[in-house]
Symmetry: C2
Subunit: 197 residues, 2 copies
Amino acid sequence: MTMAKRDTYTPESLLAVAVEVFNERGYDGTSMEHLSRAAGISKSSIYHHVKGKEELLRLAISRALDGLFGILQEPASLDGRAIERLEHVARRTAEVLMEELPYVTLLLRVRGNTDTERWAMERRREFDHQVAELLKRAAADGDLRSDVDARLATRLLFGMINSIVEWYRPGRGGAATSQEVAEAVVRTAFAGLRTQR
Amino acid sequence: MTMAKRDTYTPESLLAVAVEVFNERGYDGTSMEHLSRAAGISKSSIYHHVKGKEELLRLAISRALDGLFGILQEPASLDGRAIERLEHVARRTAEVLMEELPYVTLLLRVRGNTDTERWAMERRREFDHQVAELLKRAAADGDLRSDVDARLATRLLFGMINSIVEWYRPGRGGAATSQEVAEAVVRTAFAGLRTQR
């Protein structure tokens, strides 16, 4: 039994609760009832803040996408040699993923049953596409190894970065910080784990 | 409406159908009714082959685990310098993942609500642990860069390999073969994407 508590939510704090429930139950598997129970306020209180669960999804996904697309506007993503810009984007993508962990986790898990989910997937593909372009430029500059296909390299790089959501939990004692993890990603993917001889 | 067809299944071909349904609906979300509909045979026909869905899960997970643990017994995993053994294990893990795609996908997705799922997670951790040991040995030999923590490196390496299940579909026209993808994984993770100067 949960006692309904007074609604002291802001759209932002309500969003944090909703994203947690979405990630746990899946967006499809989450009802307004589940959200109401998790937030400890009535469904009508939730409707006071948002139109419904799809609006909460859109707000959450927007937060993840704003973080990711913001990276592409940073000076270090825009100026300089493509390989340096690419490394910056990879490092920052890993960092944003960890800083906005529940929001990016949700973005990575949406599968496209509603307009909002399809829009999320479309925007995610656009981000990947922009990084792939940077990768092609770095390859054209002769800064990327030519024996790994650019499309495959993009997938493996994002595969490595996105897998961080599976195990990274912020503030866990003795664990690496988001900067350390991001640095390890860049070193592994660009310079390789093996000692150079 | 599906017409029940004559039961011409072997335990193996029934397993292939079950794994597909498990991966699509999630193991928890799959009932014997779903399996019966997908296979086009009655529930009692399924019970003729197996005790229930948990036995199907155990058989499917066993197939994935046999493939993965088999790698550790290959001569190239047992003899030679740790770094070479590690690269062999990484390449073969990627290959087995693609060759046994639905089975390994299922293994990577189980979450531990039943005894069989907990056993699967335990065995998976054991595999990761054995690879991490190899990584530590390669580090002790001075063959791995010392500025990336061994535990983190193991996670990023498996993160990259396991992410292949998200996009790899065998026999898709023009796509890379499992050997090409596995080679790209090894080159990226061990030698790095960046041209060495």
